[in-house]
């Protein structure tokens, strides 16, 4: 029973680290602020949640587990708030998202579609 929990925690931790690595690649490659925010949210909630869950499985019922649980709840509440605040500030500054289906909108004048065939 102990080895099953150990292997399960290793699977969760490696899953979180892999999600973080792929999301960092997306943060490097994506062309827009909003798409980079979409990649960053995977680091903030997906990877961190998975790593904390694996470590909670590893420690057993202890003071360490309670502290990791508090940290998990705080990350789960606070990081989407930060992501929404960054997106709101980018929207209020007039950044236009690079969405390929919005090119026919009349209110977006200066729009250059990067995926349109020339």
């Amino acid at each position: 029973m102990m080895i099953v929990i150990h292997i399960l925690s290793l699977i969760f931790i490696s899953l979180g680290c892999g999600v973080m690595a792929i999301a960092a690649l997306g943060l490097y490659r994506f062309p827009d602020v909003y798409m980079r925010l979409h990649a960053s949210t995977k680091i903030n909630t997906g990877g961190a949640m998975s790593i904390f869950l694996g470590l909670m499985l590893r420690t057993g019922f202890d003071i360490l587990m309670v502290k990791i649980f508090v940290l998990m709840i705080l990350v789960f509440i606070l990081t989407p708030v930060v992501s929404h605040a960054i997106a709101r500030s980018a929207h209020l500054q007039g950044k236009i998202p690079l969405v390929p289906f919005l090119s026919h909108c009349k209110e977006i004048k200066s729009f250059e579609n990067p995926w349109r065939k020339k």
Binding site: M20, L71, V75
Partner: protein
Amino acid sequence: MIIFIYLLIGVAIFTLYRLIKGPTLQDALVALNSISIIFICILVLYSIQTGNPFFLDIAISFLLLDFVGMIAFTKYLGREGSR
């Protein structure tokens, strides 16, 4: 367990590119938030690996300070018409 810490340090260094060379200020904020979350994960991994519970307190306080700083920065940036 120590290999995950090295992997996360590599991911943080790789994310540092977007912090330095972001075209706008929001890109730098996104990269900074990601780097702080990765740093919190490194602290928690190191705390579990050494069995020392004091790094978890540092991680919780660092998360709260990061939240307050980010909210203040976006409130400062997000006025209408600011460039």
